[in-house]
Amino acid sequence: MFDRQPRRRLDGELSDEQLHREALAGSGEAMAALYRRHGGLVYRFSLRMSGIPAAAEEITQEVFLALLTQVDRFDAGRGMLSTWLCGIARRQVWKYLARNNAALVDSDEECTLELQSPDDGPAEVMLRGEAVAAVRAGMDQLPPALREVVILCALEEMSYEQAAQVLAVPVGTVRSRLHRAKARLAGLLRTEMASMERKRG
């Protein structure tokens, strides 16, 4: 009888713009290729910001459906698709955080980071591992406006310009927010290291 045509994989063949056009024309393969190409970034960002995998999955789905519904909003001449998608994800995340009464502390306000007690971890855990865990926990406690800058610039290794596009703020704002976030995390780390020194001594 008839052989079912295998799904084409367009991942490496076409640019984002071409894939987007094909997806709008009804190509499921193009949509899947776009998802494979940028879904990770969107999902990771949403996960780091929300802290809940189910929420991150829902946000990721919303973001990619927006590719089909908010056709006119993406302008390939003004930026990359990845930053546009990440920008949508950011808006969705902030809505999610607002809905769930998350602490949307303004980035200009002082925020005291509370460390997990070193005693929480097993005693035999490596010092480095404790420091990493402390920074990770500290990141989760950063205000969202600072946390998102750390995620984009430090974890995703985006340039300041790309992060500024995602966050819709000037590049200088990205720099200053990243500086503040790192200062807080460094302070946290110093406290942690001092604590570890005391334990060792």
Partner: protein, 203 residues
């Protein structure tokens, strides 16, 4: 130990772990289907739009056709009736009036309603009110005296024009003195040669 440098190292490590996280595969088929269904939705929307436009066009055509039928029904029976009322009488070609000027609207009269011109050279409508209605309420065609002698028209067209009462004289009609300055809406039955055969005062 430099805390800032240590922080950068730790962030790099966390970043490596972070970037290893991939998008959930469960979403891929869902998005595949959403994109594929988009074209189906678009086609359905286009189909609905096409049907709506076609229906609107048909309704418009029906309304227009109804209007045309209503208009032609309103005018044809009178012309046919008048054509039958006017008795036929052969006449000579001595007086040929000028063609009707400034035709406003033309209606085709069926070929089955030939109009033969009759009557005296001049018809005083006021005087003939006993036989015909008053001149300003003539709602039926009256043969023009000036059409005497013209060959019988096989097909007539109705031309609607505005004329002054005093201008009726050139067609062999006499309007009362008080109506001379009035503008009348009249319909002329014009033969295929462009010459008027009959007149009707619309208002």
């Amino acid at each position: 130990m430099n805390a800032d440098r240590e922080l950068d190292d730790i962030l790099s490590e966390i970043g490596r772990e972070h970037r290893a996280i991939g998008a959930p595969e469960s979403l891929e088929p869902l998005l595949f289907a959403a994109s594929a269904s988009r074209i189906r939705d678009t086609r359905q929307r286009r189909m609905r739009l096409t049907w709506a436009l076609a229906t609107a066009a048909i309704l418009l055509a029906v309304v227009a056709a109804g209007g045309i039928v209503w208009q032609t029904r309103g005018s044809h029976p009178r012309q046919t009736q008048q054509a039958q009322l006017v008795p036929a009488r052969p006449v000579g070609p001595e007086s040929r009036p000028a063609p009707v000027q400034d035709p406003g609207r033309q209606k085709s009269v069926p070929k089955s309603a030939p109009l033969h011109k009759t009557g005296p050279a001049h018809v005083n409508l006021r005087d003939s009110s006993a036989k015909q209605p008053a001149w300003n309420s003539l709602d039926e065609f009256v043969a023009l005296p000036v059409s005497e002698g013209l060959p019988a028209a096989t097909e007539l067209s109705v031309v609607r024009v505005r004329v002054r009462g005093s201008e009726l004289r050139q067609y062999g009609l006499e309007a009362p003195p008080d109506a001379g300055a009035q503008t009348l809406l009249a319909e002329f039955a014009v033969g295929e040669d462009g010459l008027p055969r009959a007149i009707r005062i619309v208002r």
